[in-house]
């Protein structure tokens, strides 16, 4: 029997093939057949260059592996996590297809830093796009190894062999063959995927492309699914931490004597960390209520209204993201022009599960079970915070109760780890809703100014775009504009110190919601100036076939009736690109002229996302984006006074509810021969603009600031 495991040795810094390295291999992977994929292979497999901004984020050793165990079961190991987006199902589907096994015999092990290869985190709609192709290639490679083994054992030429239903069979007599279990038994074969492998043609897929119910559904409907807060360890204590009243506040005095009145409560203090611990969560809460603290808070005039002037003032010089032609020539060619400034406030991620973690030291190693989108960065952060080597830290993500970008920040897990070390016990930190609204990494407030004009023929003459603090994702326009410039200040959405009064971070399709709102609102303004229907105006200025395709698909399914806005009918359209996916949304709204309240009646969304791995999952993600998007479009906006966050729960920070529910229709524009693109974020980017444009069409009120609260709609109505 040929042994292939030497191919893996240099990759994992192992010794030459010896019994020792074989044991190490078995320890690392278990027995069977293992295929490893690295970042370089992944990039080689990409068709065409990856998007620039993603290339910047891709690490050098983005890895994945796949094992066919001695029992014949297939396991995909990925550093990605499942937080509701359904990848535990779609990745398993991919493996099942490529290996010709039923979906039931595929397992996914996700995010466990002891078992899975390194990964930068689950965000950016990258799981399927970037992880799908290499995982598929790994599966194809594993199939080739199985065929090699079977050729040896059956003494048949490999050309006569094929994978069928978990077996390698003789194609001239399919009853003659060996199961994967028989083939993998006693093996320790490792392959590193360093070359392109013949992938199955898409038409041959039996599982991919067909709707499949999510694999995690049953544990979730029965309450058995374990989230970080559901884990229990022997002797575990629950912690509640002392928090400042405002960001930037410093502790002047603290008196913890009162905590002694709560039976079982103890106080732990290490520098800035002051915590009450108790065998019950509410006991810890009671103890914390007895801590007396006084704080010095810095004074600040900033609030949700004054922030925009501040942002423009502190912004760095803009960087040019894209430009072409000559703006002066464009201005000269324009018969009409509009210049507007668009504003967008801070948003909370507001996952229903607050940031939660359990940490425990067991056998000199720290294990953290955390609600996190980034287990590996968390491992590094925890190791650094506690002065441990990284291999002394294990992060295990249980089910994550919603992330949306917010759980790429792991403060709660570091708090739990520090407390576990200080107490010598397992410690759970589960934030309250107020803590969640305080320490969230909010979607940044942002400002966009656009100056653009149209020619008498209804063509966009020029486009001058400047975005502050939403970054360039979605800023680059895709219309046929001869003279244009797109600038971003700064180029990314991250602001330096002194920019925002609290932490900001990635929020589902970072920056793109703001940019698409501004761009598509302005396009509608130009359409109105040109006296053209908004769909007609877009098509007249678009040659990109994909974008035309999704626009026409949405308009057709919507039964769009062309008219110059405002037509009084309340229909709006918007389109955009995110994570490689093209998306268009038609919206129908009703506006109460007295209260200014907007009600969304109908949303029709079309999306071209290349090959769709799990159509049912893709549609669910689209619906989720559209529903969630109504929140940022109509109601959500964090209120604050300096560093004090005024929204502390869902009574004042309103997220979409059942009673908001419009009729939702989705259209996936079929493109099975294009590589899969992101699906978890794109549909959310168009919601703000489609609704704002529909409001304008309904009542002639152009609202330039999101969310479109009743007060803002009323104010815009007053100026019409």
């Amino acid at each position: 029997m040929t042994s292939h495991h030497d191919e893996l040795l240099p990759f994992f810094d192992l010794e030459p093939p010896t019994e020792v390295s074989r044991r190490r291999f078995l320890h690392l992977f278990g027995g069977g057949i293992v295929v490893v994929v690295s970042a370089r292979d992944l990039l080689a497999l990409e068709q065409g260059p990856p998007r620039l901004s993603l290339a910047r984020e891709l690490p050098a050793d983005f890895n994945a592996f796949l094992r066919i165990g001695e029992d014949g079961r297939v396991t995909g190991f990925t550093g990605k996590i499942e937080m509701g987006q359904g990848v535990v199902t779609s990745l398993a589907q991919t493996l099942a297809d490529e290996l010709e096994v039923p979906l039931e015999s595929v397992d996914m092990t996700m995010g466990d830093t002891d078992l899975c290869p390194w990964d930068m985190g689950t965000f950016g709609s990258m799981t399927t796009r970037f992880f799908g192709p290499p995982l598929r290639a790994a599966a194809a490679e594993a199939r080739e190894v199985l065929i090699d083994l079977a050729a040896d054992r059956l003494e048949l030429p490999r050309e006569r062999l094929a994978a069928r239903a978990g077996r390698i069979v003789d194609t001239t007599d399919p009853t003659h063959g060996l199961s994967y279990a028989e083939l993998a038994k006693g093996q320790a074969i490792g392959r590193r995927l360093g070359r392109k492998v013949a992938l199955e043609p898409v038409a041959d897929f039996e599982v991919v492309g067909r709707p499949v119910l999510r694999r995690d559904a049953e544990v979730k409907v029965t309450g058995r699914a374990q989230y970080a807060g559901d884990l229990r360890r022997d002797g575990m204590l629950y912690a509640r931490l002392l928090r400042p009243p405002a960001h930037g506040a410093t502790l002047r005095e603290v008196d913890v004597a009162g905590v002694a009145g709560v039976e079982g409560a103890t106080v732990v203090r290490e520098g800035d960390l002051i915590a009450v611990l108790h065998p019950t969560p509410d006991g810890a809460e009671q103890g914390l209520a007895r801590v007396r603290a006084t704080w010095d808070s810095p004074s600040s005039e900033l609030d949700q209204d004054s922030i925009f002037d501040h942002l423009v003032k502190v912004a760095p010089a803009g960087e040019t993201v894209a430009e072409g032609g000559d703006l002066a020539a464009g201005r000269a060619a324009a018969s009409a022009a509009a210049r507007h400034t668009y504003h967008d406030g801070y948003r909370a991620h507001a996952a229903i599960e607050t940031h939660t973690a359990v940490a425990a030291f067991e056998d000199d190693r720290l294990t953290i079970w955390a609600s996190t989108q980034t287990p590996y960065p968390l491992r590094a952060e925890a190791a650094q915070a506690l002065g441990l080597p990284e291999d002394a830290v294990r992060v295990v993500p249980p089910f994550v109760g919603g992330g949306f970008g917010g759980k790429t920040a792991n403060r709660q897990a570091i708090e739990a780890a520090r407390l576990a070390r200080l107490t010598g016990r397992a410690v759970q930190v589960a934030w309250t809703r107020a803590e969640e609204f305080f320490y969230d990494t909010f979607r940044p407030a942002a400002v966009v100014t656009i100056d653009a004009g149209v020619t008498p023929a209804g063509r966009i003459a020029y486009w001058d775009y400047l975005v502050y603090f939403a970054g360039d994702r979605g800023a680059d326009q895709f219309y046929d504009v001869p003279h244009h410039r797109t600038m971003a200040a700064p180029a990314g959405w991250r602001g330096g110190p002194g920019t925002h009064p609290f932490a900001t971070g990635a929020w589902r399709a970072p920056g793109n919601n703001t940019n698409t709102f501004a761009r598509e609102s302005h396009i509608d303004i130009l359409a109105a100036m040109a006296g053209l229907d908004p769909v007609e105006f877009r098509l007249r200025n678009l040659s990109d076939a994909k974008m035309r395709g999704v626009l026409q698909a949405a308009a057709e399914r919507f039964s769009w009736r062309p008219a110059k806005a405002p037509s009084g009918r309340g229909q709006g359209i918007a389109c955009g690109i995110d994570a490689g996916t093209f998306v268009a949304l038609a919206a129908e709204v009703e506006v109460d002229r007295v209260s200014g309240r907007v009600r969304v009646r109908r949303l029709v969304c079309s999306q071209n996302m290349g090959l769709v791995i799990n159509p049912a999952g893709a549609v669910i993600q689209m619906e989720g984006c559209l529903t969630m998007g109504m929140g940022y479009a109509l109601a959500e906006e964090l209120r604050f006074s300096g560093g004090e966050v005024l929204d502390r729960n869902f009574d004042t920070y309103e997220i979409p509810r059942f009673s908001w529910l419009p009729a939702i229709e989705t259209v996936i524009v079929d493109a099975p021969n294009d590589p899969p693109q992101g699906g978890g974020e794109p549909a959310i980017i168009v919601v703000g603009a489609a609704i704002a444009n529909a409001v304008f069409d309904a009542v002639g009120a152009r609202v330039l600031r999101m969310p479109l609260t009743p007060a803002r709609v009323k104010a815009a109505l007053a100026t019409t």
């Binding site: 937080m83 509701g84 987006q85 359904g86 119910l213 999510r214 995690d216 559904a217 049953e218 544990v219 979730k220 409907v221 029965t222 309450g223 058995r224 699914a225 374990q226 989230y227 807060g229 559901d230 229990r232 065998p279 019950t280 969560p281 509410d282 507001a350 996952a351 229903i352 599960e353 607050t354 089910f399 994550v400 109760g401 919603g402 992330g403 949306f404 589960a430 309250t432 809703r433 049912a616 669910i620 619906e623 989720g624 984006c625 559209l626 529903t627 969630m628 729960n649 869902f650 009574d651 997220i655 979409p656 509810r657 059942f658 009673s659 529910l661 939702i664």
Partner: protein
């Protein structure tokens, strides 16, 4: 005050000796080991902690455990009977009425209380009843469909 509270939890006689002002949610999740009911907001605003007390949906994060003395309490763990899922649970699965799943137990229990008092609710009645249960993933449309489907199945007769 420390007291022994006796109630029927998911069909079983249960007694717990604890401070009777504590929220039912924490007693369920900590001492009683039933973690299906979730903490989401702590103020009864999101519905993730919803349980059934004497056939009514109640926010367990706001309910002192003293108030369930002698009551029948049903949590998400109690909906499975003899290993058979409740029609609401299968409908949520079949309609993909969940994503991250964190609000799901509260959604199902709230829907269960609706179907107990109104076995054939209209879509409008479902929306009104469920309006105070929050879902951030945006599964609302499918949750409404799942509840309608479960109501239809339950109307066809008792489960096998």
């Amino acid at each position: 005050m420390r007291k022994t509270i006796r109630f029927v939890l998911n069909g079983r006689d249960t007694a717990i000796s604890t401070d009777d002002r504590r929220a039912l949610l924490w007693v369920l999740r900590t001492e009683l080991g039933l973690t299906g009911s979730k903490f989401g907001c702590g103020e009864g605003l999101c519905g993730a902690c919803t349980v059934l007390v004497n056939r009514k949906a109640v926010r367990s994060c706001r309910l002192p455990v003293a108030e369930v003395e002698g009551a029948r309490v049903v949590t998400i763990e109690g909906l499975v009977e003899n290993g058979v899922l409740h029609p609401l649970q299968t409908a949520f699965m079949e309609h993909d009425a969940l994503q991250c799943g964190f609000c799901t137990p509260g959604m199902i229990i709230s829907a269960y209380s609706l179907l107990l008092e109104n076995p054939r609710p209209t879509r409008e009645q479902i929306i009104i009843h469920m309006d105070a249960n929050l879902c951030r993933c945006g599964a609302h449309a499918r949750i409404v469909q799942a509840i309608q489907a479960a109501a239809e199945r339950m109307a066809e007769g008792p489960r096998p």
